[in-house]
Symmetry: C2
Subunit: 397 residues, 2 copies
């Protein structure tokens, strides 16, 4: 059993703050500052260039990849860390398209991150006018999976509502139609159990600064199914993905397996912070995290619905259909969220009217949820955002 | 006048090490650990998600870009930091190609970084069989600049020999032939004066972990000439390059000017370390750095040629044709470099036979160069690499 009291004690959580925005940026692991300091002083400072081998910097992208892989049902050696999520989306979609060279359609939905759609759109424009990014409503995805589609690019958990796609069913349907899949796990990794191997997924990508707590600008990760990684020509053919990076050959030859999805020099300082976060994740089982997450979200929904009738649930009511967040529609949502933040409850707002709250069992417990719901009730019941002096007096600095 | 004694005192240089590999990875600025610790504890730890605005993380890529821009003759607002150099090469070449849509050839040379060639090759393969990466000998570049060429992609300073291209002349010739230019400044930024604006350069890219001392995996930078940045459709169309990233529109609209070359979430921890390095650069004038660099390289060449007749200069003899490094051919170069490193003089080796030494006036002075040359002479004269016990007894740990 995961010991959540211990994991909570391993994060720095500022006094007077109830942090329900770990789905945007996770909090600081207490050990991160020391870990990074040691990386700077003992490794960079003392070893200089030799740190790439002596301190093991070169192996960090795959080492961290495997630790993340455990949380998402990935086979060892199938995940590598690097770049940003946008770049990894581009790399995955470009590589997936090359595995399906006669087709021209990338299918996605309007519940996907706009950033993923932008990257795919940019890629397809480069490839030529025959290519099409087809964006449908989330509930219509299945019926649009046809033999015309080259790549299905979806985010499993909707960033606004928390609605989850059925990864296994859609992947099966995609394969039955000869479609290659790219799953974005930005709101899944560390939030819900993912079974990439069991779903027979092809490509997956995700970020490490949200539920994984790797810090602002922490690198992304990419998964390629072992049955595919030897066949992929990485569109972003970088030198660290070369079979022999230090031979400095003029011609590119892709490295073995997942190594070929590496591109340029990985961000060692960011990876040091991420490794401190993964130490905490190493103590956690996703089944426990999921069970606790459902308790917390159910509790929050019950409290808010009991006290704030003007808020209407924007997330699926069935926890099995929902990620680790809860969203409510509220016309005054933006102002109410500002007031809430001024009172120390940090959630966020997504246009046009969504108040969004993330639940992260590693450091949020029932007591936090009860308190946050109480403060929310106070703000909504008394329309505190209307009081001009309010935010100034109460602002958390 | 740049005060090099002061700048030297601002770096941590390990006891007993003469570091002539700052062209691979610069050393640790003494203030970097504190800066990063403060970013972690006071910003990430206390501000959490609000750090993006309150701590100014969102503005760091352009703020750092302008500080780097001063060193490379870039107009304010024309440089942005992010991603890796490989990604920035891809982005620059892809964007440059779109400005020249009727042509299909990218011209480069075999003195370029293989990694740049890999990225361009991968891009051109994606675009289709009509596209060609044409790689010629460095001295033949000018005669291959024709109206067939879409993009000229060159690294100004050869990473092995230090030979410099004439950026101004080649850019002029390129423009006269309707060719868009992409200059890689990896071995130029902080090494030699660069005048992008005066050269009328189109695109430039570079990294910040070599001469700029930003740390392992520090982000890259990209320059786009102000006259072009409003016309560029960024092939890597990421959400932070969007006109309104937080509107979460489904359609991509490029941001103003250089902002559109941003892609995903920037690496805040790496940027904090880089900002400590740039504090030192803010105290330096590139003209002084160049004058001192020439003194140091001339001194090293003179000493080595006087004491090691078996080594032959692989760098241009004329300092005006040479970057801030000196390379020698030597048949036993690999073994000799290992022995040298064991004696605390860190340079590096590049196949097949090149011993490479970087000279970085911010923290290397005449005394260091004299000492390094003496140790090299001892090793070469006495063939110390042949003594099996040697490395073990003398190894710097």
């Amino acid at each position: 059993m995961t010991d959540f009291a211990t994991t909570k004690s391993m994060f720095h959580l500022p006094e007077g703050v109830l942090y329900l925005d770990g789905n945007s940026l996770g909090p600081l692991p207490k050990s991160a500052a020391k870990r990074v300091e040691s990386m700077l002083k003992d490794e960079w400072g003392q070893m200089l260039i030799t740190g790439w081998n002596k301190a093991g910097w070169m192996g960090m992208p795959t080492g961290l990849g495997d630790r993340i892989g455990r949380l998402i049902g990935a086979e060892p050696g199938s995940v590598v860390v690097g770049d940003t999520l946008s770049i990894k989306v581009y790399q995955a979609v470009a590589s997936a398209l090359e595995l399906n060279p006669t087709r021209r359609v990338v299918l996605s939905d309007n519940g996907n991150f706009p950033s993923d759609l932008y990257m795919a759109d940019g890629l397809l424009r480069s490839l030529g006018p025959d290519y099409e990014l087809r964006v449908v409503d989330p509930q219509d995805v299945a019926e649009h999976i046809t033999e015309e589609v080259a790549v299905l690019m979806l985010t499993e958990v909707d960033y606004r509502s928390g609605r989850m796609h059925d990864m296994k069913a859609l992947t099966e349907l995609a394969h039955a139609n000869g479609v290659v899949t790219v799953w974005d796990l930005a709101h899944s990794a560390g939030a819900v159990p993912v079974d990439l191997s069991g779903c027979n997924a092809d490509f997956a990508v995700g970020c490490t600064y949200k539920y994984l707590n790797g810090g602002p600008g922490a690198p992304a990760f990419i998964y390629v199914a072992p049955r595919l990684s030897g066949k992929v020509r990485p569109a972003l053919s970088g030198w660290l993905g070369h079979e022999a990076p230090f031979a400095f050959d003029l011609d590119y030859r892709p490295g073995a397996g997942i190594e070929r999805m590496r591109v340029g020099t990985p961000p060692v300082i960011q990876m040091a912070a991420l490794s401190a976060a993964m130490d905490i994740w190493d103590m956690a089982e996703m089944a426990d995290v999921r069970a606790k997450s459902i308790e917390l979200t159910e509790l929050f929904i019950a409290r808010v619905e009991a006290t704030c009738p003007d808020l209407s649930l924007a997330s699926p009511r069935d926890p099995a259909q929902r990620g680790s967040q809860v969203s409510f529609h509220f016309d005054e949502g933006y102002a109410a969220m500002q007031a809430l933040i001024a009172r120390g409850v940090i959630g966020d707002f997504r246009a046009p009217d969504i108040m969004r709250f993330g639940f992260t069992p590693l450091y949020i417990d029932e007591g936090d949820v009860e308190q946050a719901a109480q403060i929310l009730a106070d703000i909504i019941t008394n329309k505190l955002w209307d009081k001009p002096e309010y935010k100034i007096r109460q602002r958390v600095t």
